[in-house]
Symmetry: D2
Subunit: 154 residues, 4 copies
Amino acid sequence: MIKDIRARPRIGVIGGSRAKKAALRDARQIGLLVGRRGGILVCGGLGGVMEAASRGAKEAGGLTLGILPGNAPREANPSIDIAVATGLGYTRNSLVALNADVLIAVDGEYGTLSEIAFGLIYGRRVIGLGTWNIPGLIAAGSPEEAVELAFKAR
Amino acid sequence: MIKDIRARPRIGVIGGSRAKKAALRDARQIGLLVGRRGGILVCGGLGGVMEAASRGAKEAGGLTLGILPGNAPREANPSIDIAVATGLGYTRNSLVALNADVLIAVDGEYGTLSEIAFGLIYGRRVIGLGTWNIPGLIAAGSPEEAVELAFKAR
Amino acid sequence: MIKDIRARPRIGVIGGSRAKKAALRDARQIGLLVGRRGGILVCGGLGGVMEAASRGAKEAGGLTLGILPGNAPREANPSIDIAVATGLGYTRNSLVALNADVLIAVDGEYGTLSEIAFGLIYGRRVIGLGTWNIPGLIAAGSPEEAVELAFKAR
Amino acid sequence: MIKDIRARPRIGVIGGSRAKKAALRDARQIGLLVGRRGGILVCGGLGGVMEAASRGAKEAGGLTLGILPGNAPREANPSIDIAVATGLGYTRNSLVALNADVLIAVDGEYGTLSEIAFGLIYGRRVIGLGTWNIPGLIAAGSPEEAVELAFKAR
């Protein structure tokens, strides 16, 4: 039975489709903690940090929402439950930020920077772990702290 | 526990945010049947036909995905489980069609017409019940037939 | 010198990227007449009816605006002056309709149908020449009549 | 007569809709220089830095393209020649970056940051004048230097 999905906090995890092992480990741990706390893990649906966070969330029995750049839901990584195809390319980064109550940025390059910017444009709290140093972003020292801050922010 | 979401067929129901009673009744019945058969009900997330179909799907214990024109997930009708805000206005109609494996059009005005067109552009089977008469659209005579055709089409 | 661009009527011509000779001839004639009357020719920027209409407009010394599905302005047909890349794929059809004061549909398949629908959603007058028969669309019998109706509509 | 529009370099100027006098003065000077050198001034079409840059470009007899967040071309500032309505809200920031060969960021807040990020995602050279300090962005010390770098970059 599926219930109460709507009331669950939506935690966005943003980061690159390529990332170093440490960042992937952090992302997975964040996903795991989000899943354990009943959050919906929202991300861009592809590989790297997105995939690691989704996998963590699924390991905790959580629910994952992936907002994809392409036209095909099947392009989502295997840990995405609800794949939303946009066909918008990088422009979909805006929609990732829009669909999270709060965002956690892990590592990342320019794509992540655009998502941080949109998160702040949309008034979301944005927490960072080893990512861009942008005024307004709240730095966390660990996955645990990042998730703690995310659930408090909401 | 939430499982197997990804493997479920996604049935889009498209139709106006205002509709007559008969169309709303049909939409609700379609949603109910989609939910019973384990389909995910995909729609534009607002009122009228969208809301009736979503309500039917929830009555059957199904899962609903609403792809909204505005910026706020909370604008979704109360029967939407996963509300995806796009901020794209009517342009989001394209994304509704993109995220369904097959579409059922019920009644509807120009918005529905645009979704029928996108469904056909994207190669989706589009089934119609009391809606636009467009070559390529498959006419059904009842909600039951529409859902039957939709699950066969996939 | 470039002046008064802003005050000029914007006439959208919509139609398929593949079309028969007669439709291409009609589109070119429409473009020519739009250009002569000082209108800006707005289209999807690609081939077929879009290219023919743009070419006609340029032959009359007019200005052309092409709103492209892809990421690269250079993908516009050679008669487009201002190529706007959207990266939105077919979803850009909505933007073509939005950026015309009035639309003329020539021939066309499902993409054109989506643009007709968006035109009507956005409250534009939509004139048709050998295209979809949709209530609300105004049928013209010739390129001359179509352009006449378009300039009156505005 | 309008000619050679297509071959002209497109210089994007990005910056906030509210800005201090010094930034507005810089933006206007940048627009003026872009116009004098035959560039098309591309911007978000609204007020502040966008309007100042557009005004400068028009003072030099240049051409301006404004890519708007809203649905109505008439919302463009009075110095925009070609107003393209997107209806995409802030998501249109991606399209501003996409439609410039090179970008000059002046001052700016999170919206500008998103446009810088998209510029870098799309492989555009991004020049900054008193704006975000982002690796990959090239800092200029004056409007003159910014425009010089922009035309070299292309």
